[in-house]
């Protein structure tokens, strides 16, 4: 469990219906450009300079991590170890210098970024999946079941995820990408479940849901056709709200030596390697750590921008 990405979440978890802007401005008469929720949201998003810059940096970093290992002249896993080139400073050949085995840090950064981002996205999607299942059952069923489920969430809410993640890793025994995803999601889905439940409860009161029920739609049709698709907006925001915590969590676990097993290395494991030599070569720990910070910072800004874009009402309190 890490902090919610934005302090405003602590005050009010966003539960607004996303469909308030759809159809706004549609007037009788000549066909006009359809005011689509997503197009509208996109227009608002690109007006937010901070969010656009953050999005661009984020996309650029992901692209770098995906593409660079393919075009680089270095092969981190198979190149021979060369101690005479260990811990070189930045040069034309190695723009970020080299590590203890004389390997190119820039290429290593891209590979580490790949793993960190993969674990981050995997864990985030797992968290959201659990959250959607748990939250929509509670929100849709309501009544007693909802009450029990929410009591349970209250009980688990705020538990530190790290001891539980460490125990889960000890249970599974091996540390690979999937075990990291499980360890990071097992005690982090409580907020997501709450958000989904809140959203479903708000949506349930809408006239179109009542209408669907009135014409005899089965419960699963109401849920899958009318309720879940409308939670999409908030889920997309939630991806970027959860991502920073998961990336930092993975980095923490790796840093205390419980990360993915070598030879694979995430950004956190790279930082751990750098810890051994930070007195002489501070760049080895600084490079992956700064990459983590940039990812987290961008994700926070993107989440902020998306929230403002998809739910303009929250923006008003901010801009007065």
């Amino acid at each position: 469990m890490t902090l919610p990405a934005n302090p405003r979440d602590a005050v009010a978890t966003g539960t607004a219906a996303p469909d308030v802007v759809a159809g706004a401005g549609a007037q009788a008469g000549a066909p006009i450009e359809q005011a689509n929720l997503w197009r509208d949201a996109w227009r608002r998003y690109i007006q937010n300079r901070g969010a656009v810059v953050a999005g661009a940096i984020f996309v650029a970093f992901v692209a770098f991590c995906v593409i660079w290992p393919i075009i680089t002249p270095y092969d981190i896993h198979n190149d021979p170890v060369n101690f005479s080139q260990a811990y070189e400073g930045p040069s034309l050949k190695h723009p970020l210098g080299t590590d203890k085995l004389g390997k190119d840090l820039l290429t290593k950064l891209a590979l580490g970024g790949r793993i960190s981002i993969a674990i981050g996205i995997g864990a985030t999607l797992t968290i959201l999946l659990i959250g959607v299942v748990y939250g929509s059952i509670a929100g849709f069923a309501g009544g007693r079941l909802d009450n029990i489920q929410m009591r349970l969430l209250d009980a688990l809410y705020g538990l530190p995820y790290l001891p539980f993640a460490i125990i889960v890793l000890a249970i599974i025994g091996t540390n690979n990408l999937w075990t990291m995803v499980i360890a990071l999601s097992i005690a982090s889905w409580f907020t997501a479940a709450r958000i989904v439940r809140g959203q479903i409860i708000t949506l349930k009161e809408n006239d179109y849901v009542r209408a669907a029920k009135a014409v005899g739609a089965r419960w699963y049709r109401v849920l899958t056709r009318h309720l879940l698709p409308n939670t999409l907006g908030i889920l997309i925001i939630a991806i970027f709200l959860e991502l920073p915590g998961v990336i930092l969590g993975e980095a923490f676990l790796s840093f205390i030596g419980l990360g993915i097993s070598p030879p694979d290395a995430s950004l956190g494991s790279m930082a751990q390697e750098g810890r051994e030599v930070y007195r002489v070569h501070p760049n080895v720990i600084a490079i992956p750590s700064i990459a983590i910070a940039v990812l987290v910072l961008c994700a926070n800004f993107i989440a902020d921008g998306m929230r403002d874009a998809l739910d303009p009402r929250t923006r008003e309190t901010k801009e007065h």
């Binding site: 005050v11 538990l159 125990i167 901010k318």
Partner: protein
């Protein structure tokens, strides 16, 4: 009000039982046994005796019941690996250091974070505001191990001002607690700024202004007090964050706290210690949640009925 507090107190009991059960079930899944380590083979008879001694031969529900009884009588049992020590001894030795580290981090966060948020809100859209919010956004994103390493590198090694690691006197405590407190500080700053801006819009602030009260008094008495209420709810998630952070910070600064001990206990499969520490940290969170809820009920009576 009394009924609300009693309800809230009673509710923590099943929560604590659940947390113990959860930890207990998880711990039973870990493969291997502290007495079955290949490096130090024990004869089957001895092993049986050891398992009997620590109740490992009982069915799981009996073990659970015994454990719960132990927790509520403040006896977390013996350590399975360090034979001559109990879990209580270990917690008594290591926990206060982690507690002190966490509390000091909170002190940094509150002492610097709240004024930062207030200044940013009062000078909204000024250079102060942008500077402080930039600092807060960055402070919130940078992993604490980078902050810690940079502090050690520049403050301890380059400038030679403070010791690099250990936990002896106040000099040793400044850097670790600051590194741990930076993210909560940034969080408080953003939270207080947001809620201060919202409070300043309220009608009663306008009324106070109309009455001709001095601005300083309006800010300190009317606005600040109310905008700190949401900060109270942030304490619980921040506590979880700080507990997580102590694991990392204790490793970096070689502080003999409970987080560092936990990591060694997991690898040596010292069940009772791992459980004891997990249950203890969970208790800290659950109790803190309870206190926050009750405090919130006192500060904002509207929430009393909705929460239990």
């Amino acid at each position: 009000m009394t009924a609300f507090i009693i309800r809230r107190l009673l509710w923590t009991i099943p929560v604590l039982l659940l947390v113990i059960l959860l930890t207990f079930v998880l711990m039973r899944q870990i493969e291997g046994n502290p007495f079955r380590r290949s490096s130090r083979a024990v004869s089957p008879a001895v092993q049986q005796n050891l398992e009997r001694k620590f109740n490992l031969d009982e069915p799981w529900y009996v073990q659970y019941a015994l454990y719960v009884k132990g927790v509520f009588t403040f006896d977390l049992g013996p350590s399975l690996v360090t034979r001559d020590r109990t879990v209580n001894d270990i917690i008594k030795e290591h926990f206060p250091k982690s507690l002190e580290l966490g509390l000091l981090a909170f002190v940094w966060a509150i002492a610097l974070g709240i004024p930062m948020g207030v200044i940013a809100a009062l000078r909204q859209n000024s250079a102060y505001d942008y500077g402080l919010m930039f600092f807060s956004n960055v402070g919130y994103a940078v992993p604490s191990f980078l902050v810690a390493t940079l502090l050690i590198y520049y403050v301890s090694l380059k400038a030679g001002l403070l010791p690099t690691n250990g936990w002896i006197n106040w000099k040793y405590k400044i850097l670790p607690s600051f590194a741990l407190g930076l993210a909560p500080m940034a969080y408080f700053a953003r939270l207080v700024r947001g809620s201060m801006l919202e409070t300043l819009q309220q009608d009663y602030i306008r009324t106070a202004k109309a009455k001709g009260l001095r601005w300083r008094r309006i800010v300190t008495v009317h606005a600040l007090r109310n905008s700190l209420i949401p900060a109270v709810t942030a304490v619980a998630p921040l506590l979880g964050f700080i507990i997580t952070g102590t694991f990392v910070i204790e490793v970096i600064f070689s502080i003999p706290g409970i987080g560092r001990y936990f990591i060694t206990a997991v690898s040596s499969r010292d069940y009772s210690v791992v459980m004891g520490i997990t249950v203890l940290t969970s208790f800290v969170i659950v109790i803190a949640n309870m206190i926050v809820d009750i405090l919130y009920g006192i500060l904002d009576p509207r929430t009393r009925d909705a929460r239990t």
